[in-house]
């Protein structure tokens, strides 16, 4: 073997330029306000501590190759911590494993990996619970009517999508394949796609009374499609996110309920953990539930909720 040695970079050594701590953030896309709020909050937190935040993203929801390359490049760049919202819960595990092998702290935000232990820690909403709350509220709102649901899911292979879906079914008391489920499809959490999917589902059957949406962009798409067919009045739309726009939609009666998440908290806590790791080498662990709040102006018995006024004070962007 040759005598020369090469310094492996990114392997936990001090970052090269002036000792500034580097934190990497990899979101699903740049075109969802949620991830923008997450990024802005992470940046603010990093700025406070004089750390560098590099924010990368996939080109579209499902761009696993892009997320993998982002992780790899951040490791090379000397990021000591990487915060990631994986598009696909299994697809990028290899890249995460390599990063951790080089001593990088990897924290999942918003979306769990599968298995959870693939990352050091996860700061996220309890998405099953968020789904369950949406389901429970919708069930109560329907009262005596039997549910006829269409389900707007997220990205194939993402835990967020599965957990919310299953939580919702648990909350409303249905199972996949039940007659009460009229149909559903993947929306990638995008408004346009959700609108298209809903339009298509309505083409087959307009007897629905409930729409499950995994996030607020999907809810807006669904509403637009229902509105165009003058069906918005007969349908209870439930959602998850808690953006200011989403809360406003609840206030305006377009959406019956939204389950608020706290992305700023996830981001801030993630960055804090990164700073702590840089200072002391201490790694966080496990799943940290950042909490949810049910937002509606029509509180129903058995479900703790906040009104939209509260929602507008606490929404994230």
């Amino acid at each position: 073997a040759s005598g020369c040695t090469s310094q492996k970079t990114g392997s936990g050594g001090q970052p090269a330029d002036g000792g500034k701590i580097k934190v990497g953030l990899v979101t699903k896309t740049d075109a969802n306000p949620y991830f923008v709020a997450l990024r802005d909050s992470a940046r603010a937190e990093a700025d406070k501590a004089g750390a560098d935040l590099i924010a990368l993203a996939g080109k579209f929801d499902g761009d696993n190759e892009g997320q993998v390359a982002a992780i790899e490049n951040l490791v090379q760049q000397g990021a000591k911590t990487i915060l990631i919202t994986p598009s696909n819960s299994t697809g990028i595990l290899g890249a995460i494993k390599n990063a951790r092998a080089k001593g990088v702290l990897v924290i999942a935000l918003d979306t769990e990996t599968d298995p959870k232990a693939a990352v050091d820690a996860t700061y996220a909403t309890d998405n099953t619970e968020a789904g369950r709350l949406q389901g429970a509220y919708v069930k109560a709102a329907l009262g005596s009517r039997t549910a006829k649901v269409i389900m707007l899911d997220g990205t194939p292979g993402s835990t967020v999508s599965e957990q919310r879906h299953n939580g919702f079914l648990a909350g409303i008391g249905l199972k996949d394949g039940d007659a009460g489920i009229l149909g559903g499809d993947a929306t990638n959490g995008e408004q346009n796609k959700a609108q298209q999917v809903t339009e298509n589902l309505l083409q087959r059957d307009t007897s629905l009374n409930t729409v499950y949406t995994l996030n607020e962009p999907a809810a807006r798409g669904a509403y637009a499609a229902l509105q165009a067919k003058n069906l918005a009045g007969q349908v209870v739309i439930g959602s998850i996110d808690g953006s200011c726009q989403g809360v406003t939609d609840v206030k305006d009666g377009k959406v019956a309920v939204t389950v608020m998440q706290f992305p700023k908290k996830m981001a801030a806590q993630g960055v804090q953990a990164a700073l702590e790791f840089a200072r002391s080498g201490k790694k966080p662990g496990g799943f940290v539930n950042t909490g949810v709040a049910v937002i509606t102006d029509k509180p129903l018995p058995g479900i703790t909720s906040q009104d939209t006024a509260w929602g507008l004070q606490n929404c994230w962007g």
Partner: protein, 327 residues
């Protein structure tokens, strides 16, 4: 016949003849800039990473180059590849079929789709742009129907084989995928420049009527190109599973344009008949170097996108300049 003065072969003349020189310069410039401005770009680990990141698009772009050399274009390549990954991973996952079998099945389907494209293009003399646009729509939908909203993790060793690495001199990481890409590029380069098949591909792209009058079987030549490109897309599916061991119907939505970008940055003309696969290899590397270098320089995604867009244009401009105002 009178012969005019000829000056000695100059550097610029050499560039004119060797189409990949412009892109190589662009690549070197980018590497030098990032090596100087960042401390983390230029080291063996990162350089081998850059190559890994270029594997999938680089392989797609190899097939794309063949099609573009015939004055065609392939908008469906990434969708064919994604369907390939789904076939390979889903079958192995659900039916425990050995990876080698589903691998071959995936490549075979990709080749058949190439044959379909090629038959329509040659049989009805339709523009490849519109045929592959139709194929893009069809194949994407078929992939999604087949995946039924799922994505499929890869566990089989054969399917993941290209993601494994050895270390040269204990230092330089070389993945199996890199070897395969290198071999494929060399093989296609050999075919294009050293065999009659390649001469015919160039001629068909350069002037199909002249090729026909010269006795070349234009249709057969074209059909062959689409089938070979299909096989290459099938192998790209294998590369993709090596990179991300998960077959996802949502993946690589911009793979078609990304591969075309690599081809064009590599100096191959969209009008056919001019260019080289080695240029494409360099083009794919340039894109990966940009992404890596900009990240090392601490630039955020959206600003990276802006920079990438600018640099796509600049790289094309450099290539243009290096070949001068010769014609």
């Amino acid at each position: 016949m009178a012969t005019l003065k000829e000056r000695r072969g100059s550097l610029s003349e050499y560039m004119l003849r060797t189409p990949a020189v412009g892109p190589v310069i662009a690549l070197l410039v980018a590497v030098v800039i990032f090596s100087v401005t960042t401390s983390t770009f230029f080291n063996v680990d990162n350089l081998s990473l850059v190559v890994k990141q270029a594997l999938v698009i680089g392989t797609l772009a190899l097939g794309q180059t063949l099609v573009i050399l015939t004055a065609g274009i392939d908008l469906a390549n990434a969708s064919i590849m994604v369907l390939g990954t789904l076939i390979m991973a889903k079958f192995t996952l659900l039916h425990h079929t050995p990876g080698i079998v589903t691998l071959i099945a995936g490549i075979f389907v990709a080749a058949v789709l190439g044959a379909v494209t090629g038959s329509v293009v040659t049989g009805f003399r339709l523009p490849p742009f519109i045929v592959t646009l139709g194929m893009l729509t069809i194949v994407t939908a078929v992939g999604r129907i087949y995946a039924a909203g799922q994505s499929f993790p890869v566990t089989d060793g054969t399917l993941g084989f290209l993601g494994q690495s050895q270390y040269l001199f204990g230092q330089i990481e070389i993945s199996n995928g890199m070897w395969l890409m290198l071999i494929m590029y060399l093989a296609v380069w050999y075919g294009l420049t050293r065999t009659a098949w390649g001469k015919h591909v160039y001629a068909v792209g350069n002037d199909p009527e002249a090729a026909r009058l010269s006795g070349i079987q234009v249709r057969r030549s074209l059909l062959g190109v689409y089938v070979i490109a299909g096989v290459i897309y099938g192998i790209a599916a294998w590369q993709a599973l090596g990179r991300v061991p998960n077959a996802d119907p949502n993946a690589f939505q911009t793979g078609n344009l990304d591969s075309i970008t690599a081809v064009v940055i590599g100096g191959t003309s969209l009008f056919g008949g001019r260019g080289s696969v080695m240029g494409t290899l360099v083009g794919a590397l340039i894109v990966a170097v940009l992404r890596s270098g900009l990240t090392q320089a601490g630039i955020d995604q959206l600003y990276q996108d802006v920079a990438t867009g600018v640099l796509i244009i600049v790289a094309a401009g450099l290539d243009r300049l290096s070949r001068g105002r010769q014609r």
